[in-house]
Amino acid sequence: MGKADDVTVLLLMVILLGLSAWAFHSGRRQALVLSNGRARTLHSLPEYYGFYLALCCATPALGGFVVWAVFEQQIIEWFTIAAISPGVRLDDPAKLDLLLNDIRNLANGNIISRAVDPDLQAAADYYLGLRDLSFVALAAGMLALSGAGVVLGWVNLKPAFRARAWVEHFVHFVMIGCSVIAVLTTFGIVMSLLFESLRFFQMVSPIEFFFGLEWSPQTALRDDQVASSGRFGAVPLFAGTLLISLIAMCIAAPVGLMAAIYMAEYAPVRLRAVAKPMLEILAGIPTVVYGFFAALTVAPLFREWGAAGGFLISSESALAAGIVMGIMIIPFVSSLSDDVITAVPHSLRDGSFGLGATKSETIRKVVIPAALPGIVGGLLLAMSRAIGETMIVVMAAGLAANLTANPFQAVTTVTVQIVTLLIGDQEFDSAKTLAAFALGLLLFCTTLVLNVIALYVVNKYRERYD
């Protein structure tokens, strides 16, 4: 799409808005006319009749626009492919994709990857022609739909017509639609991940993926290369993700929990008022900043310390990435723990004090056990966050898959591989890029399971305090 297209769409929208405003005005006036000047005979306020007519005008047209927007690209491409002269058409989907890309780019005036021949130029011109046609069709369609809507709506304008109810129902409907978008999003995520993963598993066996120990994703670049030279065993990725996440939790869990305990039980009010927001700041810092910090400060520092101590710490060590990730997760653990600790009723603490316990004994033996389900749930959620984290590991962890438990070595994670596989020019259908979707599906399922378990643990074991 180019700037001219933007302007066209904007223009259409403005026209639609104008038409709707006119419809509103007319509807309201008509309602007053029909009531012979006695507004009380109308079922609803005149505005609602106006709104009704405006909605009749705008909604069908907007619906048409959405349909157009979603399918326009596919339809044009379909027609373009069908119209290409046989000499140029190819059956290989990857080559076809490239061809389409070139046609698109040529039509938009961008550089293309091959020399321009008359057939290609013809195809590009045809493409452009189709684009213009589609815009005309859009404009005509929208006008027709809004016109039809106004006419149909006009028929319904009577004093007894329950305009307000109608409008409110419409608004309800829209609100339900908005609420359902969350479901649609989940559906979209699952469907797209599944779809692409299934295509991947047609190229690479699931056994190799889930149990293979070697990860070096490559695909054939030229026809004469051996296609299956890539290894897609994801176990090193799982190991790397787990290693870094565990290191992160080793930092975040004790620090976060103790910080929460201190701020909830010991800290004077003023200290808590200052320290709590500052911990929240830690949570608000973008992860790319943490990644920068890890790559440019922490990792080189560790490498120097290692060199001074006589052992080799990689400049992309799991330790550096894990520790910085742990720092990022501290506020997560601390704020969730703080909430559950504060929720433990004071009467339990009183009971413990009354028996002669010190404050730390009360916390360790009564408060924490009472808050434990919530704390465990919080830790699981934090673990889920660590597993799904991307930028810190992309910038500070390695790219080469390495199956090891040594935190001083460089490992790679699932999220790093997803990024690496999909950045840069790619043909969309190669095993390489589809592997990223398979990894994404795995990631989604893992975090989902962790979240569900966290919720279950919290709900099942939570003490109900009256």
Partner: protein, 282 residues
């Protein structure tokens, strides 16, 4: 009639503060003094909650503190085991002595104090642990039991004294929060007893219980009286009359009158006491 001789004899029996000396108490077979509080005042920030309380608590007796809501009974009770320390901004002045030791003395550890003075609260607050662990919590904390067998004995003894043993002896691992309201309160009493305190403070222990459970606990108090000193705050005058030997009437942060229960309820000296008992207010 006071003769000079009687006066001297009287002086011989008094100490500086106007109370009786220990020897006098022993020789006269008077009840032993456990808590001696003089001029106790409590401030919550700027607000004063207690005004100059002078009260004695005697050993192996049930002392009831009565009075309308908000008159300071619970505040006074919480002074006795320094539970007011856990409230921010609370300031306690005056003399509070347990068996002659100043409770607020720097050398006296509140932790140690609370091992001598136990507390049962208005709403039963068993820990979310097993019945066994609830009862064993105190002894474990202070290292009172030398072995597991010892601890088992302590638990059994406490639950028996609290009148709960027969009901729970075969489900000691069940969570304490799963018991009925009355049983939970008896568990809390067992928990307090397990530490072998000298005094048990009870802050309206039956207010959340039905009459049958209440009767059970009042029976218990009478049994416990043999071995422990009990101070109970109650807003039920009938309960005070039933269970206590001494009663103190509080009103608006002041101790109006204290003395033998029978005397307070039949021939009170103060008009306010009379009004409260006959139901004119409160």
């Amino acid at each position: 009639m006071m003769t000079a001789e009687t006066k001297t004899t009287n002086e011989a029996h008094m100490d500086e503060d106007g109370g009786l000396t220990d020897d006098t108490v022993v020789s006269m077979n008077l009840p032993h003094l456990t808590f001696r509080t003089r001029n106790v005042e409590v401030f919550y920030g700027e607000t004063q909650a207690l005004f100059g309380i002078d009260l004695d608590i005697f050993r192996n007796q049930v002392t009831a503190l009565i009075g309308p809501s908000g008159c300071g009974k619970s505040t006074y009770l919480r002074c006795l085991n320094r539970m007011n320390d856990t409230i921010d901004g609370c300031c306690v002045t005056g003399i509070i002595e347990l068996d002659g030791d100043d409770v607020y003395d720097k050398a006296l550890d509140p932790v140690h104090l609370r091992a001598r003075v136990g507390m049962v609260f208005q709403k039963a607050n068993p820990f979310p642990k097993s019945i066994y662990d609830n009862t064993a919590y105190g002894p474990r904390l202070h290292g009172l039991a030398d072995s597991k067998a010892d601890l088992d004995d302590v638990v059994e003894g406490s639950l028996t004294k609290a009148g709960l043993w027969d009901e729970v002896k075969d489900r000691l691992d069940a969570p304490g929060t799963g018991l009925s309201g009355g049983q939970q309160q008896r568990l809390c009493i067992a928990r307090a007893i397990a530490v072998e305190p000298d005094v048990i403070l009870m802050d309206e222990p039956c207010s959340a219980l039905d009459p049958i459970a209440t009767a059970r606990i009042e029976e218990l108090m009478d049994e416990l009286r043999e071995n422990y000193t009990i101070v109970i705050v109650t807003h039920s005058m009938q309960q005070a009359a039933r269970v206590s030997q001494r009663t103190a009437f509080f009103h608006l942060g002041n101790l109006v009158e204290s003395g033998d229960t029978e005397q307070i309820f039949t021939k009170p000296s103060d008009q306010r006491t009379q009004d409260y008992i006959t139901g004119r207010f409160g």
